[in-house]
């Protein structure tokens, strides 16, 4: 019995180790590649660098890549702030305020998240050009609302729905109007939802590619994914530099994931599990 249990525990442990390996292995390989000298990139074995070099990181930090990182940060933070504000207002209205056609509104938000981006991109491009937001951070921020608003509304709707039923009544007795109730009572209560939604939105806009590729063409506004996709030199791909850049842009995300592991898992699943 105990032996059986030990074998079982060992099996579980091995399985867990395998899962971890499969998940971080490719990233690890990227990390190893980023420390190799250029001339060692074309030989295998050895797996580990013969000689560790930080040149690739130096290259990354002494290039326009720094600009890409700044652009991504500006866009992702703005998108997060704006979509949280607008999304929580809309979600609150649908979940708690006495408006008509609630399921229609919710359905509309969900519908936009199902559109294939390719069906939107050409007219969106024409429009963004026309209103002069081509090659601007603002153009990207506005366009990212396309997938960030539905995400926020969808997640926060669940949180607001779960608040106690008599909340507004009680607030009204204390003389709170609907705006103040939302701002001072409901929003703080939905804080866990806001954190989760914020994280998801941040990661989604940090990683977005198709829209950024189409709406920007200058280093001054291009984001990281576009920068990486267009990294190659005249005729070759500098794999060492690409690896270093990948590690650099992935680390903040890994840190976020490790810090907020619990909240992220809940946020990813919250809406889906409730259905």
């Amino acid at each position: 019995m105990t032996l059986n249990r030990q074998i079982k525990a060992l099996g579980l442990g091995l399985a867990a180790a395998l899962v971890v390996f499969l998940n971080i292995g490719p990233l690890l390989w990227q990390g190893i590649t980023s420390l190799k000298l250029d001339r060692d990139l074309n030989t295998l074995p050895p797996i580990l660098p013969r000689e560790v070099t930080f040149d690739h990181y130096a290259n990354v930090f002494h290039s326009v890549f720094v600009r890409f990182i700044a652009n991504s940060a500006i866009v992702a933070f703005s998108v997060t702030a704006i979509s949280l504000l607008l999304g929580s207002m809309a979600a609150y209205a649908i979940a708690r305020l006495p408006i008509k056609g609630k399921s229609l509104w919710l359905g509309l938000f969900l519908a936009t998240s199902m559109f294939p981006q390719i069906a939107i991109i050409a007219p969106l491009y024409a429009m963004i050009r026309k209103i002069g937001l081509y090659n601007t951070h603002a153009g990207l921020v506005l366009s990212y609302m396309l997938f960030c608003l539905p995400l926020c509304v969808w997640l926060l709707y669940g949180f607001f729905k779960d608040l106690p039923a008599g909340l507004e009544e009680a607030a009204a007795v204390d003389g709170c109007g609907p705006v103040r109730t939302f701002w001072q009572i409901a929003l703080p209560l939905a804080m866990p939802g806001l954190v989760t939604a914020g994280l998801l939105v941040f990661i989604a806009s940090w990683n977005e590619f198709l829209i950024a590729l189409t709406l920007t063409n200058k280093v001054s506004t291009q984001t990281i994914p576009v920068g990486i996709a267009l990294f190659p030199q005249m005729f070759y791909v500098p794999w060492g530099d690409v690896s270093a850049a990948s590690v650099v842009v992935t680390l903040p995300l890994v840190a976020l994931v490790l810090l907020f592991e619990n909240k992220l898992a809940k946020g990813l699943t919250g809406g889906a599990v409730k259905g």
Binding site: A122, P123, K130, Q233, F235
Partner: protein
């Protein structure tokens, strides 16, 4: 089944109806009229004029810094703002950038670099300024001027030309007493012989570029032209359905089937094929001029000093052909400060700027005079030796619809090489598709 089809048809008809009722939409996306507002603005005296230049990345982050600095020093009234485009290996992205920027009519760029194959497209769209009055044509190779002329007007200022050429292992050919092959048949024979004698399983016979990308079209055009075939004739009619095309395509496929070329070259563009060659693992390589420098640098090449370069072979009775590549300078039709923009383009195409690029990255100059530089002759002798190759290059189909034709060629030639289409079927399809595009 029939019911659903009918319903879908009805649905589409409904959409069509709505669209006619709603109307509009006629101007198409993104191609709104040009905004002439600012193009007339002339700078006041003493004020700095800014021109926007979109240039490809050629050798690093600051491909243009030095030339721009020189230009600004000589023209204190002009400031050049550089937008770095991706390198030529990302030509699809560069093309997209230019098309979107130029079609918007919002004059984002004044001077830009573009692939020689885009010249007809841009010129026929009315995006480029005619350069006839600003270029001393007799200073350039006539072939280049001809390639940049569309409907009687010079649409670009020449920068550099490139062409496909044959790199070979001098040492191996000498060891087995074989001449540099003049025909494809001879090349196959020599490669077979050396492979057999060397007994090195890693040694490949002949490398070219089979990846589904623009470079595949370039390779294809070389094989095709050297068999005496063509894609489009001078009346913009498809002539691709010919025994010559079948011969060329069959030959490309046969190098893969008979082991002269590795199957892996189906994912090779320029650089992967170059690496295998400079690692000493191939006898012959078709590539552009940049490989010369790369192969002579002992730090990165195991075959430094053992490499020769020659014009590409042809089929028995055919003529060697090399696809014309290279980027050129163009001035946007609605450039804000046209005068300054033209001045800058002229500077970039000048003898000294071309010399700078020839020395820096061995770009083949479009002015014969550049090759008279002693230092350059010593450093890159092949630029002089192969001047004939560079200037006898063949153009890819000259038509504004080239990008569409290229996409079809990439997909269909790739399909024939991987065997998902028979050679005959592929050629038939190409003929139909290209004819449809040109109509």
């Amino acid at each position: 089944m029939k019911g659903t089809k009918k319903r879908i048809a009805g649905w589409l008809a409904a959409i069509a109806f709505i669209s006619t009722v709603v109307g509009g939409c006629g101007s198409g996306s993104g191609s709104g009229g040009a905004s002439p507002s600012s193009s007339a603005s002339k700078p006041a005296d003493g004020e700095k004029v800014t021109i926007r230049f979109a240039g490809i990345k050629t050798f690093g982050e600051d491909s243009w810094t030095e030339l721009v600095k020189q230009f600004e020093a000589r023209n204190p009234g002009i400031h050049v703002e550089v937008h770095q485009l991706p390198p030529p290996s990302k030509s699809t992205e560069i093309h997209q950038y230019l098309v979107t920027a130029l079609s918007s009519g919002q004059n984002d760029i004044d001077v830009f670099t573009g692939d020689v194959v885009w010249v007809p497209e841009f010129a026929s769209a009315g995006w480029t300024e005619a350069m006839d009055d600003y270029v001393e044509k007799d200073q350039y190779y006539p072939g280049v001027i001809e390639a940049l002329t569309y409907q009687g007007k010079l649409a670009a200022i020449p920068w550099y030309v490139d062409g496909g050429m044959l790199y070979y292992r001098k040492d191996l050919l000498e060891k087995y007493g074989r001449p540099v092959p003049k025909t494809w048949e001879e090349l196959v024979e020599t490669a077979k012989l050396i492979k057999e004698k060397e007994q090195n399983p890693k040694l490949e016979g002949f490398l070219w570029q089979g990846k589904q990308a623009e470079v595949l079209v370039c390779d294809f055009v070389e094989f095709l032209t050297s068999a005496g075939g063509a894609i489009v004739d001078e009346n913009e009619k498809s002539v691709i359905n010919s025994p010559e095309t079948i011969k060329a395509l069959s030959f490309m496929k046969s190098t893969l089937d008979n082991g002269i070329s590795p199957k892996s070259l189906l994912s090779y563009d320029e650089e992967p094929s170059r690496t295998v060659f400079t690692d000493g693992n191939a006898i012959f390589l078709r590539n552009w001029s940049y490989v010369w420098d790369a192969s002579q640098d002992p730090a990165n090449s195991k075959v430094a000093g053992k490499v020769g370069v020659a014009p590409l072979p042809s089929f028995e009775g055919g003529k060697s052909a090399s696809t014309m590549g290279g980027y050129q300078f163009m001035v946007a039709k609605n450039a804000k400060n046209k005068e300054a923009a033209i001045k800058f383009a002229q500077f970039l195409s000048s003898r000294e700027s071309q010399l700078y690029y020839a020395k820096k990255v061995a770009f083949s100059p479009t002015r014969p005079a550049v090759l008279e530089d002693e230092e350059l002759r010593k450093e890159s002798p092949f630029l002089t030796e192969l001047a004939d190759v560079f200037n006898g290059t063949v153009a890819r189909p000259v038509t504004p619809k080239y990008p569409q034709i290229s996409l079809k060629l990439q997909a269909t030639v790739s399909a024939a090489l991987t065997g998902s289409l028979s050679v005959e079927k592929a050629v038939e399809m190409l003929d139909r598709d290209i004819q449809a595009i040109l109509n």
